[in-house]
Symmetry: C2
Subunit: 436 residues, 2 copies
């Protein structure tokens, strides 16, 4: 089945808006085993819209059109859809009363120009939009079925998942029950994960489990797409594969499905009524920025400090005599974490110190990260070297700091070799857990 996408609107065509709706649509379809083969962007222009609809209608089996369903004069999708399909526009009484209801619930009167949103090509199938006034619809143009969707991202998302994906799966003759299981990891590269997971698909011999990856440094997403008769069938098929993925990726899995690293860390801390203090150099406070804005974080994250160098860090955490000699080391990070914990009266403190290389910011520019976590019983620390440019080091230091904190809270080793670090031939490179 050939699927195309048409994105409409001057704001997208002129680049005022980056087209994230398209990447969302194509990624979502891929999650369900459906591939997009062509995308077209045109502006709010009758001639180009009509041509784009006709060309796609000649080539494709299914076309998703995004945008142009609003109430204003430059929203042209219904009008041009009707012309391309060779039918008239007709008022949908059903959608008109839905809209009036929508405004009534919000104690407002429907403005007259919203009536335009209920004008659909005659014979069109309505695609429900429970979160807005733009009416989705489906209609045939040429040899293809066209699905018209709103430009507002949350309205598009809901309509795509609830209305359009099931129709595309049915049209493609695929089994309609499908499920996407996701694992998020840090520290394993895509090709390494691929070889670690070699053969897991074969645990379900009928080929209904498909393995895939999505790399977005520093994290890797491992995806299992499972097809089945129904959700019970899917659960039976998924169980052994899911278990095997967890076993093989082990400690590197930091979250599953919609969870995130920072939410997992926050939940671990909140569940034990713990509190956290953060100390960062070079990362410009990005560890705090990741976690402190989450709902509930205000009870847990008691202080975040960013300072430019070790002396300033020591001053900020009240280490008046300065750190142990030798600059940024594991021992220095441990001393800072202990001091931050004592100073702020929290249960846990994380210190991430970065010793940057000198010289120009190139692909071989690197930094050494020394981090430490002080808890009630012990201090854990690690040292790691990351190479790949300033921004790469910064992203790596933020992720490593948060992930080591997760490992500490989950009772896993804080020091475990990751694919993104350079091996250093230094005695001080081993992890130590020392009594605090």
């Amino acid at each position: 089945m050939r699927i195309e996408v048409i994105c409409t609107g001057d704001e997208v065509l002129t680049g005022k808006i980056v087209n994230t709706n398209f990447s969302y649509i194509t990624q979502k379809l891929e999650d369900f085993g459906l591939a997009v083969s062509w995308e077209t962007t045109v502006g709010d222009d009758r001639e180009n819209l009509l041509l784009a609809f006709r060309l796609a209608g000649e080539r494709a089996d299914a076309v998703i059109v995004n945008g142009g369903l609003g109430p204003t004069v430059d929203d042209l999708s219904q009008e041009i859809a009707a012309r391309a399909a060779g039918v008239e526009l007709a008022l949908s009484e059903e959608w008109l009363s839905r809209m009036e209801e929508y405004f009534r619930k919000r104690s407002r009167v429907m403005p007259p120009n919203n009536r335009k949103q209920a004008m659909l090509p005659a014979g069109a199938e309505v695609l429900d939009n429970p979160v807005g006034t733009a009416c989705g619809f489906a209609v045939d143009i040429g040899r293809a079925r066209f699905y018209f969707t709103p430009g507002v991202p949350r309205e598009l998302r809901r309509m795509l998942e609830e209305q359009i994906v099931p129709r595309l799966l049915a049209k493609s003759g695929m089994q309609t029950a499908i499920f996407l299981k996701r694992f998020h990891s840090y520290g394993i590269g895509e090709s390494h994960a691929d070889s670690l997971l070699s053969g897991v698909e074969a645990l379900v011999p009928d080929g209904s489990v498909k393995l895939g990856f999505r790399a977005h440094y520093p994290q890797l997403e491992t995806k299992l797409t499972v097809r089945g008769r129904d959700m019970d069938d899917i659960r039976v098929k998924l169980a052994p594969v899911e278990q095997e993925v967890r076993r093989r990726l082990g400690n590197f899995i930091l979250a599953e499905d919609d969870q995130t690293l920072e939410r997992v860390v926050l939940a671990e801390l909140a569940s034990r009524e713990a509190s956290l203090s953060l100390v960062e150099t070079f990362t410009s406070g990005q560890i705090a920025a990741r976690i402190a804005h989450l709902p509930g974080a205000e009870k847990v994250v008691r202080r975040g400090v960013v300072a430019p160098d070790l002396a300033a860090v020591c001053a900020a955490v009240g280490l008046d005599r300065g750190p142990p000699a030798g600059g940024i080391t594991r021992e220095a990070a441990e001393a800072v974490a202990r001091a931050a914990r004592a100073q702020t009266g929290v249960t846990h403190a994380l210190a991430v110190l970065v010793d940057l290389d000198q010289g120009p910011d190139r692909i071989d520019f690197g930094g050494s990260i020394c981090l430490a976590i002080a808890g009630s019983h012990e201090v854990a620390s690690r040292r790691s070297r990351i190479v790949g440019g300033r921004e790469w080091v910064r992203l790596g230091a933020v992720e490593m700091g948060l992930d080591c904190l997760r490992r500490y809270l989950q009772g896993l080793p804080v020091r475990e070799r990751i694919d993104f670090e350079k091996v250093e031939s230094q005695a001080g490179d081993a992890t130590a857990k020392t009594a605090s």
Copy 2:
């Protein structure tokens, strides 16, 4: 002149990469008065690439193709360009020696598969790429001139600006000298700025100055596109308009051209060998994150602190007796800024405290921002109320904090009514500068 863009590559088509190259291309062309009327995305697929080239070659006068110039087997642009143009591929000796030189300079031997990058459609015009091995080129397909560009963003940018824009301007018959002057402001909405600047274009009666805006909350970019015979002509035309824009937008202009608010603040501080301490609530350290990663900031930004509430803020800055009674007020912000300055021995301290509404995060959710700046002579403070959801309040607080610091450093009033704030009927809402 009809211009189209074709983006190629499976990573873009499957949404693994969001297509920022396209929005860059179309925005850049718009800056030069050139409009894109159609965009097509296809994958690394011979049949679809050929069809896309042929269709665009029938419709357009000029086509920019992005991606597919790399050394690997799935890079197909040269091959398909030759087929669509009806010519053979031929080795460009010129580009081959350029590549060999490129590797030699980096003390590396050119891998054999890079030779593919010097195979161009016979008769193609080379478009220089001074920062990579992908060779840009131009060739006719159908009735259009096609310009092939690399997918790597910094290579694309350089080639577009230096090689392609001048060719498009010449092809379009436009005067080739064109200049874009930009002003960045905070605190004025687009329609307000539009009315403030009404008539400025008419200061140059021949219509060669065009006014435009690009809003990205919280900042607004005001653009003057100027055409002329040459840069001298442009300078003469621009001068009175530029001066008038500065006069009318006044204190709200925070930077011009490639400057940014955070760089302006950093430069003001660095020029007087000043140092800065930052204290934030609710913004989760985003003020520090904006400024602390800039080159040179490590000498200026001595400490950034984020804490969840007023009590935690006071503890962090050593205000043991706590702030003046009454919660988050201008007076409390002033006390915090003074204490942070004294505690860290810096010349300047900025405190941004946010008193959030209770209740669900909706469009009418708001917060009151109290901020203060302590310098060597005086403490300035302001209070402002922003409504529009949690994230809107957060972005507004970050921008207001940085912009008030700019105003303070530039000797401008810290308190000046902005379009994004709700007016409060409170006596305490006026700005005060009190001796510190």
